[in-house]
Structure formats: C-alpha cells, structure tokens
Symmetry: D2
Subunit: 339 residues, 4 copies
C-alpha cells in the first residue's frame, strides 16, 4: 500500500479540467492523502466578506491535482474511492450570489429584474459531535446539522482536447455537486487522455439535494482517496457505487435531459449487470430506482439515478473493484486517524 | 367518526378534475373507504393485452369522486390523510407505451424517429409477504420487490372554472405520481370551488422516483382516507406532510421549473413555520432539503422538495392537522382490518 | 354571403375555451363582423392604471364567442380566415407585469428575487398613416411603428371535455400570440366538440416575435372573419396559411419541445402535400423552413414553423380552402369599408 | 488594403476553439481570403458515403485558423465582416444522423428508442443561377433552392483558458449555425486572449432556421473576410450587424434560456445605442423585435434577436465599424471576382 500526499500551496491549484501538467503520479491501487481549499479559495473569512468582492471570478472553486495514474489510457475506467473526507477548518461557509443559484436570475437564465441579495452564513463545525451549527441572520434561530462531508468537484481531463472550467460538470465529471460523493463510495470516471489526470476539490461539510442557493457548507478538506484502474471499461458518464447502491449521473440542461441521461445510463448498466434486455431493465429501474437532484444551479445541472444493489443479485460491477477498494480503505483506516 | 363508502361502478368513474357533480358529500373529519380502478380501467388482464389496443385513450386513469366537503370554500385548505392503501387484486401491471415515458419520443417531445415497443409486465402480489414479483420477458430473471402502495392521482377541481384531464398534474394536484403519497401522509390541496371536489385514483403497488417508463405497478386499490379542512389556508401548490417531513410539489415543464416551484414553496413554508426571513429559510433548505423526482413522464413533470421536521423545532403546520388526522387514523385502524 | 355581427357587451365575454354556450351560430362559408376588447378588458385607460391594480386576474384577456359552426363535428377542420383586423380605439396599451414576461421571474419560473417593475406605455394610433407612436418614459424618445394588427388569442373548445383558461395556448389554439395571425391568413383548428365553438380576442396593433415583455400593443379590435369547414381534416395542432407560406405551430414548454412539435407538424404536412416520405420532407423543411418564436411568455410557449408555398409546387392544402376564403374576402371588402 | 490568404491543407485544420497556435497574423483592417472544408472534411463524396462511417467523430466540422489579430487584447471587440462566401465545389451535401438533429434521440436528449435512419442528400449547385437542386430519395421530386451561403461556425479562443469543441456554440461564438452570418454582415466577438484567435468553417450553401435535421447544405467555401478591432468594446455574447438590423445571439440549453440571453442582449444594446432606460428598451424590443431560431440541434441551441436599425435613429454601433467595413468590402469587390 503506497501512500502519497498532495497538499497544494495556493498557487498550485488549478481552475480547469484538461491541459494541466500532473502534480503527482500514482499507480493503480495507490492511496493519496489530499488537501483541498474551499470554493472561495479560503478568501472568505468573515460574514462581511462578500464572495463577489473578495474572490476573483476566475479563482472560484480551486481543485487539487491533476493526479496522473500510470497506465491509464483513453477508454479505461478510473475508479476513485473516498476513504475519508474531513473538514480542515473549524468552520464552513455558505452564501447566496447576485447571479447564481436556482431561485434567482443568472448568467444562463438571463433576466432584467434585480439579482438576489448576497449574504454569507458561517457555520461552526464540531468534529467531535460531527455537527455544523446554522445561525440565522434575521433572528436568533440556530440549529445543529449533522455533517455529511463530500466533494462537489471531482473529474478528469475531458476528451477531444477540451479544457473545461471547474464549475461545469459534464461527461468528464467536474462540478457535479452531489451529496452522494461521500466517504465509502467509489466514483467511476472515463479515462480520456493518458494518465487520466484526476483533480478534486469543492468540499462541502454537507449539502442539500439540488444545492438550491448555489453553495453547500463550503469547507477546506483533508481527504484520503484510493485510485484504481479497470482496463477498457470507460463509462459514457460518471457512475458511483456505494455499499448499497449503483448510481449513474447526467449533467446537462435542461434538467429533464440530465434526468434522461442518468436514467438511460442506469438502464444500460442494469442490463449489463443482469443480462436483462433493455426493456426489461427499463422496467426494473422504473419500479425500484431513486432519482434525486444533485445540483440545479451550475452551468450544467446534474441528476443522479440509483438502484439498490440487492436488485442485481450476485452481479458485481467492474469485477468487484468497489469491494476491493473498500477493503483497502478498511486496512488504511486501521493504521491512520483521519479526524 | 363518520365512515363513508365510495365504490364506483365502471360508469361512475370520471376522467377530469372540475365540472363534475359530486358522488359523495362528507363533513370535515369524516372518513371515506374508497375503491379505485387501475389506470387501465381494469381492461388489461393478460400480458398480451396491449394498453394502446384495449384501453381507449379517453378512458385511461379513471378517478373515484368527486367527494364534496361541506363548508369548503375557495381559499381554504383541504387536508387528505391516507389511512391505508391496499391493492385490491392479486396482481399489478406495468407497461411501456409507444409514445409515453421519459426515454422515448412522446406527443410533447415530438420526433420523427420510431416510437418505443409496447410491452406489458404482470406482477404477482403477495399481501402477506407484502411483495410484488417482477418477471423479465427476456430471461428467467425474477425479483421480489417490497410493496409501497400510493395513489398517483389525487386532486380537486381547478380554479377559474378550468376542467383538466386527469393525466395532467398542476396547482390543483392531479397526476403527480409521487411515491410520497403513501399511507400515513397528509396531502394539502387548495380549495378552488365550493366543496373542494376531491377525486383520487391511479394506485401503484410501488413506483420508482420519476416513473421513467411511464407506469408504476398499476393496481386497483382499497383505500381509506380522512378528510379535514383548514379555513383560509390554501397553498399555491399541493403540499404533503408525513411524520418526519414537510414536502412541497411543483408540476410543470421544464423539469427545472418544477424544481424551482417546489423549492420556492419549501422556502416559503419554512419561513412561515420558523419566522426566518426568506434568505435565511433559503439557506436552511439549501443545506437540509431533499429533492427527489416524482414523475418525468406526464404532461407536466413533478418535483418534490422535502425538509425534515426536526429542523422546524416545535412548529406545527396548519395548527397540527396532520397529528390529529394521524390519531384519528390510529383509532380507525384499531377497529378495522384493511388488508 | 351571410354576414353576422358579434359585439359582446362587457358581461358577455368569456375567459375560457370549452364549456361555454354559443353566442352565435353560423354556417360554413358565413362571415362574422366581430368586436373584441383588449386584454385588459378596457380597464386600463391611463398610464397610471397599473394592470395588476385595475384588472382582476380572472378577467384578463376576454374573448368574444363562442361561435358555433353548424355541421362541425369532432375530427373536422375549422378554417378561420381573417378578412380584416382594425384597431377600435385611437390608442393601444402595453405594459410590464410584476410576474409575467420572459425576462423576469414568473409564477412558472418561480424565484425568490424581486419581481419586475410594472410600467404602462400608451401608443397613439393613426389609422390613416397606419402607425402607432412609441413614447419612452425615461426620455423624450418617440418612434412611429407600422401597424400590423393581429389576434393573439383564437381557439376552439378543447378535446376530452377540458376547459382551459384563455391565457394558455395548446392543441385547441388559444393564446398563441403569433404576429402571423394577421389579416389575409387562414387559421386551421381541430374541431373537438360539435359546433367547434370558436372564440377570439387579444388584439394587438402589432407585436414583436416572442412578445418578450408579455404584451403587444393591446388593442380592442373590429375584425371580420370568414369561417369554413373541412370534413375529417382535423390537424393535431393549429396550422396557418397565408398567400406565401404554410405554417404550423406548437405550444408547450420547454421552448425546444414547442419547436419540435411545430417542425414535426411541418414535416408531416409537407409530406402529405408533396408525397415525399418523412425523411425527404424533413430534409426539405431543414433547408427552406423558417422558425420564428411566437410567444415565450405565456403558460405555454409557442413556436411557428414556416415553409414557402412555392416549394410545394401545385399542391393546395385542404382542397384549396384558403384560396376560396381569400376570394370571398375580396368580395366582402369590395362592398364594405373596414377602417 | 492588405490582403492575406489562408488555405489550409487537410492536416492544418483544427477542431477546437482555444489553445491552438495561430496559422496567420493580420492587422486590424486587413482582408483574408480563406478556404474552408465542409463539415465532413470533404470525406463524403457520394450519397452512399454515410457520414458516421466515413468521418471520424473527432474530425467533424474542421475550422480554418486561428487568425491572430495584432493588438487584440482581452476585453476588446473583434469585428469580422463577411465580404463574400462562395461554394467551392459544384455540390453541397446534407444528411441525417443516427443521434443528431432536433427530431430524434441524441446524446443529449438520451432515449432507449431507436435512433433515426442515416440518409445523405446531394445538391447540385449552379453558381450562375445561384441555385441548389434538391432531389428526393423517395420520389422524383426535385426543386431549385436559392443559394444563401453562410458560415455555421465562426469564433475565437474562449475565456479563462477553456478549449471547446468546434460543435458547441457559446459566448466565444463557435457553431451558432445561423443563416444570418451571410455576406454583407459583420460579426462582433469578444476578445478573450491576446490576438483573439479567430477561426471559421462549416459553410452552408443555405440553411433553414433551426437546422432541424442537423445539417445545412454543407459546402466547402471560398470566403473573403475583413477583420477590425474596437478597443474595450467586448460584448458578453456574439452580436451581428447587417445593413438593416442589429442582432444578438444566445447559445445555451434549454431554448428559452437561449431566447432570454439573446433578448436581454438586444435590450441592453438598444439601451446603450438610444439612451433609453432598460424598461423602455425592453418595451421597444418587445414590439419591433424578431426572434428566429438559429440552431436547435447542436450541443447548445442558438436563438437570434433582431431589431431594425431605423428604430435606433442615428445611432451607430461601435463607432460605425460596420459601415467602414462595408465600404472596404465594396472597394475590394471592385477589384476582385469572388465567384
């Protein structure tokens, strides 16, 4: 078990997927302890620090990486297992933006009516109790929310030489902003360029489905991931596996097209895993599937489709790579404290 | 506790919301034992009965009712509590349609490419084990699915004199097709005309989120509901309350607008229940809310937004009507066997 | 040539399509001189009359009718030829609305940001010069715009017993708000109930494509129409014919689905008129078709698809009914002054 | 008047905007005679050459360039005037694709129903008569269509270091596929990187609005453009000026958001040119504006908004650059034969 460390300095973060030189090279099966900044680049340190004033637009959502995976070639599948995701600071931050979020005019849904007020919320994090404290501005209402840390942005270099801003999720992953990317899950990404070039960031101490205001509990993170490779198994869109569910994603607009992609992907995957024909798999997904929104605020919206693994009987995706990574994670966690 | 019975004969079903004479008149607090047909009007009795051949389009999705509620006036809120929902036959049916479902061209998403193959699946129901058995056509794959009965279509007469086909969900409720409408929940509907005029049907023995193929486990149902009235409390869109969640709905196209409506409704409801201002409520919903798809196949799509009730502290919606109906349901269930 | 007159008093207007008793009965081939109110019911008479204050929501967009056409049966095609459309008052009115229009949050595209300012513009109409004068509020900018009068709302009783608010365009026509419905054109509508039950209103002295602010130059109108019937020719969606173009419409959300419907309709119509198979007709429409927006502000959006009639060679739609109505219009106009 | 020549060999074409070394460097005011391949890279030479078989996906839609413009800096406006666009071969080609076009399932609107038949149409071009001959497959129907040559793909390097596939239109221009980009018009693009880095291709001998089947009359072109620079005038989205209209574009999904962007851009531009405040400009655009679809088939859809220039009175956009380029074009055309 080889363990690497990736702890970028402020000028070592990147803001795009694709076209960036690797910061680290690992082998399939290796583990990486990685530090990531929050989506504000750590620049918001007080409720009066309005993001639109203190963070240049081009420096939103820094990602650590890319991590080059030896042997990864276009057409392969990159498996990224999240061993642990732990907030790195005693606070997390959320905010509204003048032209961002689902319930306000944006650059994409352009209007001439007034944009939304910008407001910042600071949450105190308690890693012992594993909670974050919400504090209202308009009253003394407070509430302890359970932590459920995740990475909003995880992806690889896109296909065809494209370079994409970190904020736009697509077939290469990116800013999918789904709470499903928590510790214990494995993300499957297509390899589009030699080495795959994995980057990640945008930790959220927790997030609602849809991320309606545009931000979760934005938090710098200390995370541990294990990376593996399945030759020739590249999915068309990012997929996720937990102990209980197989999940697919679609990231596009309008939201029904994101739903369609995620559902077709789940139908196809179910068909592959069970031998059912497409219509029989469609039927099974129709009756057992879950369909939570991931984000409805980013330049592409993301929907997730989920099927409980018991419906697949003995089938194991990609040769059982999730189970192997889960075991490696257990082994790692025995010897390391992550909080 | 007054208990009514509504068991329509085939010619007593209706196919629209609005403009129909009441079949039953009840008082707030009354209970109704109601029988509903499946969405095929009971005409599909064998896997070879293709719905497009055996069911006239205008006779899809029959609803029982309307039920007139004494004292209900425009602007009031009608509370419909589902005491029990039990399949009435030992089977349920699902099918694809040539021009219906999320992953095929439809009348709304019109294309010149070929429509989908029509195929029918029969599920054996076991009310003892509370399961339905899926059987593939393309192989001998079978699977026992847990029952989770619900009504896909519940609504009232629309506002402004409109009469709407049962298949189209909107502000009056209708064919929302959300698995959240299960026994133990209370549905809140606006009263638009004197008496409210409640109708329901389209039982599903279970359904995935999004109802991607266009049908759930379509099943005739024997259901028991309790009806109550909150004067002056009409919501803009249907809302749902369970023991654990408050939920809002939006039914429209595109899917992001259904999401926007459901989320704005949840923000507004949260603000009303907690005294938070709109932005503070927006923040809380952003971090704690769930956002499952209900249907992405009907003429309007439906999204649901959910907030756990513990986040509302001691607040009780609509004077605690859900709790009172839950207690009445318990009382009813002591004296009656529903399966 | 039988000529009828339909001049509703204020309480004789209706606000829905469907379920209304006829105000007039005519025979195919008859002519009707019809007066219509503006969309504000004539209640806005001064720039300080904000529509949201002076017009009850339920009384927006009154329509004259219904006109029953003898012999019209479900499945028939109703042809409505516009002989003349002339503003009835020396002014027209346009306004923004707080929650209406394409560039502001609305009831359908729900947001928590502030709605738009409501502002009213009065246009002086000069029927001699055939112009309307635009006057800015923010400066002394004025501009003479050519009149191009049209009816925003024309439709019949919907199918399946539905009753729809006048503001929502769909398969029955309704509030399509396309500038193509000007004098000299023929509108083809499906007959869904005996008599067809034609209503019209919402005159615009002119309107841009898309009606982006939500209103045109709203104007009471004195119009003359000729009505005819084609047995068994009901189109799925409203169609329009001018001397130079055949046109199809689709009214739904999202806008790409309105586009898809209008284009598929034009492909199908082209195929019917030329004998080309679907793919060959698709190709011809792809290279010669026009695709202007009609409205992108109403509860359903409307797109129009247009093909120049020279591409159809000698084909005449529906047995040449447009040409016959055009000739009848000429005959009428010889004997009548319409301005 | 400096005249350059850009005639790429097959291996000199590029397939992305951004990240490509310039092929030519020019000064503001210079003229470039440029040859472009058709979208199939010239590989389809017979109706039996199905594009999906003879053209690798990554080699669709080659563009000539980039052209570096001396002095162009981020924030500047690049003006590209089309002096002439003339088909380079005696034929043009159109086709359907299995998963491309507005009326078929696609990669973005993913479905499980069957994709469309792939079919190729060859058009004979007659540059004397300025026509293209349509020939049906299913019958002997033929039709002469007027030529109206244009470039479907014109753009610059994107902002923020992004590299985008040629097929995806966005703020940097790209594959907007609007018939408005014909000879005699000026396209305004934002400069995002030093030199601007202009590329163009995808000539169509003509195209319908919306490009519903996914292709126009695809044609290699011999074109002549003049390039100019306006310091500091970068628009948010590409704009177009002809002798009669100012036009704006929006390229995104869903189509209503493309419409919203194009309309807001036109409102803002009108306000800038006339001094009207935003609401007064919104009103004027609402009544005079045109709103044709450009493409409803590419990864982003494009809508165009048009305002007749007479409504702007004496205002001249960007210091009258269109007029100056028009004059330079006249001068060039005196001395050069373009057909």
């Amino acid at each position: 078990m080889t363990i690497h460390r990736l702890a970028p300095t402020p000028d070592e973060y990147s803001y795009v997927f694709g076209g960036v030189e690797p910061r680290l090279t690992v082998k399939p099966g290796d583990i990486v302890e990685v530090s990531t900044e929050d989506c504000f680049g750590g620049r918001v340190t007080h409720p009066d620090d309005l993001p639109s004033r203190v963070v240049p637009f081009a420096e939103l959502n820094p990602v650590a990486g890319p991590i080059e995976v030896e042997g990864a070639e276009p057409g392969d599948l990159l498996a990224v297992h999240f061993i642990s995701i732990v907030p790195a600071r005693p606070y997390a931050i959320s905010s509204t933006f003048p032209l961002f979020g689902a319930l306000t005019p944006t650059h994409e849904t352009a209007m001439i009516s007034a944009p939304l007020e910008e407001r910042v919320w600071f949450y105190d994090l308690d890693l012992e109790k594993w909670t974050a404290t919400y504090r209202a501005h308009s009253s003394d209402y407070t509430l302890e929310l359970p932590l459920d840390p995740m990475h909003g942005t995880v992806g690889v270099a896109p296909a065809s030489g494209e370079v994409r801003l970190v904020v736009t999720p697509s077939t290469h992953g990116g800013n999918m902003d789904t709470p499903e990317l928590r510790a214990g899950t494995t993300l499957y990404l297509p390899v589009n360029v030699a080495g795959g070039m994995l980057s990640l960031g945008d930790g959220h101490a927790r997030q609602g489905e849809g991320e309606v205001c545009g931000t979760g509990l934005e938090s710098a993170m200390n995370s541990v991931i294990a990376v593996d490779l399945v030759k020739g198994g590249a999915p068309a869109w990012p997929r996720i596996e937990s102990d209980d569910f197989v999940m697919t994603t679609g990231s596009i607009r309008p939201l029904e097209d994101a739903y369609r992609i995620s559902q077709k992907e789940l139908v196809d995957w179910t068909s592959d895993l069970t031998g059912l024909d497409t219509l029989d798999a469609y039927q099974l997904v129709s009756q057992l599937g879950l369909a939570p929104a991931a984000n409805v605020c980013d330049p592409n919206y993301t929907m997730v489709a989920k099927l409980p693994k018991w419906a697949l009987k003995s089938a194991a995706a990609y040769g059982g790579v999730h189970g192997r990574l889960r075991a490696a994670a257990e082994e790692y966690l025995v010897g390391h404290s992550t909080r």
